[in-house]
Symmetry: C2
Subunit: 295 residues, 2 copies
DNA sequence: TATCTGCTATACATTTATGTATGAACACGA
DNA sequence: TCGTGTTCATACATAAATGTATAGCAGATA
């Protein structure tokens, strides 16, 4: 019973999971609906399990199918990065490089760095994957990642950028209307912008700042960009990276001595990519650009 | 330019890399040589790179092909673990579980544990992957790993077993023939069994034991099982896990106070597998069995 | 209720991929 | 030097997978 299941089937399987129907998967994959149906049937036959419950509105994945999804996704991202590596081969900085970073970094910090990089290397294409989820570089969902924590996995090339300071900020006109808080407790009477879910960041802040708690947040969103926009829009007081806030004269820091958090910043890359010109160049550009940003 | 490269091609590609020829790959994959050739040709066409230089003795991989190999291997192991997970679905402890461990643990310690586990769960199949290489659980090359170091990767369920002591041992008849060394320096006149390459273990020992160096090894092999066999065969003095040595009355410890190294032992598993009955049962059995072994 | 849209499943034609057979080139050993 | 056992490449027949067309069902909409 040699593992003779066609890898194509997994691709169709993933397509159906993503699209929710045979027809949808067929459209997305560039095949036809009967073919997709046959692939699923063949896969179910080969694995000996039921993957979907058929219905006229689409295919409902079973628990088993959901359990298998991460594997299929891993295969997909690996295939994608194989292609990326292949098409980026050859001398010179060329091809596609995928960079993962938080949305704030991606929107506020990376654009000029990427712009300069592309100026120097016109044949280089850059894909930004903006998410807080720790992308698994080992799975090659991205080539290079900007992270706010020390990388723990082996097989990674990592360069420490330094610490990015985080502080509380508000627009001047907001403060002139509502007054500037002098103590942590005074924050209760303010519009404090913060997180919806009690994330690791919130717990860390609660520990380090006496008197602070999540209940103080009166404007809640887990989207960091939205928080930033709210601060800039004068909606209240919120957390912002100091270098970003400094660019905007309208923003003033609040309770600087109480709230000062440091984010360890690292740029990481899989060590296999060290000799890839495109990754090397991007890595170096990110390190240099981010160091300037931090300083 | 949608990524429309068939995943089957990658499988053939990997086959050719492993076997070194189209014919060999065809045999291994259960296809025919022309098909394998067509797959490679199609893949080269699609990627726009040359993967192999043809010759009548086989196909020589280019640098590019070698660079792509890890990706194809990742896909392969992911596909394999997808199958494993699928066929192990359903209630009850059934299916295949892959356990990674060092060869010594696998040969000397695991057998009775595995035997008892299979006694309790006859539908469970166990695959042992015996290697010192740190298997990447994230890549799912194995479901569960017995490791001699603290796991550093996230997304892992880890249980600490305790410390396994390592000591110097020799057969009594060897010692009666050659005398028992009383100091580290006296080892120079003995047949000391050790490692060929200067591994992390050797460097650690050189640091912790004054006067010790790799040059003392007069019987060298990187195969731990061979070292153990040499000790048991009375060929000299070597390192052995204390619990293993205690089983054999013919073995005596040497320089116990000088040489005493501790191996932190952990059992780890990907957290996704926590709810898999087969992995859960195996994990628990390993933890219990190893704890008894350590104690 | 009638109609539209989306879905799956089936029957049939066709394209595509695969296998079989064979030839030529090279390495190795008698 | 000549056979033997590899290998890859090509031509042709076959088997397999895919696409096309259509029927049937369910839910939404007017």
């Amino acid at each position: 019973m040699n593992t003779t299941i066609g890898w194509e089937f997994y691709r169709s399987f993933l397509g159906v999971l993503k699209e929710g129907s045979l027809s949808g998967a067929a459209r997305a994959l560039g095949i036809t609906q009967p073919t997709a149906g046959r692939h699923i049937a063949a896969l179910e036959e080969a694995l000996g399990v039921v993957l979907f419950t058929r219905s006229q509105v689409g295919l409902m994945p079973t628990e088993i199918a959901l359990a298998l999804r991460p594997y299929a996704e891993a295969m997909e991202s690996t295939a994608a990065s194989l292609e990326r590596t292949a098409t980026s081969q050859g001398e010179g900085v060329r091809g596609v490089v995928r960079v993962s970073a938080s949305d704030v970094i991606g929107v506020e910090v990376l654009p000029p760095i990427v712009a300069q990089l592309r100026e120097q290397h016109p044949d280089l294409k850059v894909e930004l994957v903006l998410t807080d989820r720790i992308h698994d570089l080992l799975r090659r969902e991205a080539d290079i990642a900007v992270r706010m924590m020390r990388p723990e996995q082996g097989q990674l090339v990592a360069r420490r950028i330094g610490r990015i300071e985080l502080g509380l900020y508000a627009r001047k006109d907001y403060l002139s209307r509502h007054g500037e808080p002098r103590t942590v407790n005074e924050l209760t009477s303010h519009s404090v912008i913060g997180y919806d879910q009690r994330s690791a960041f919130v717990r860390k802040t609660e520990k380090s700042v006496h008197g602070f708690s999540r209940d103080m947040f009166s404007l809640r969103t887990d989207n960091n960009l939205a928080q930033l926009a709210l601060i800039r829009g004068g909606a209240g007081i919120g957390f912002c990276q100091v270098p970003i806030a400094r660019r905007d004269d309208a923003l003033t820091r609040v309770l600087a001595k109480k709230f000062s958090l440091q984010l360890e910043t690292w740029v990481t890359m899989h060590e296999d990519l060290r000799n890839s010109p495109r990754c090397r160049a991007t890595f170096d550009a990110l390190v240099e650009g981010l160091q300037q940003y931090v300083a």
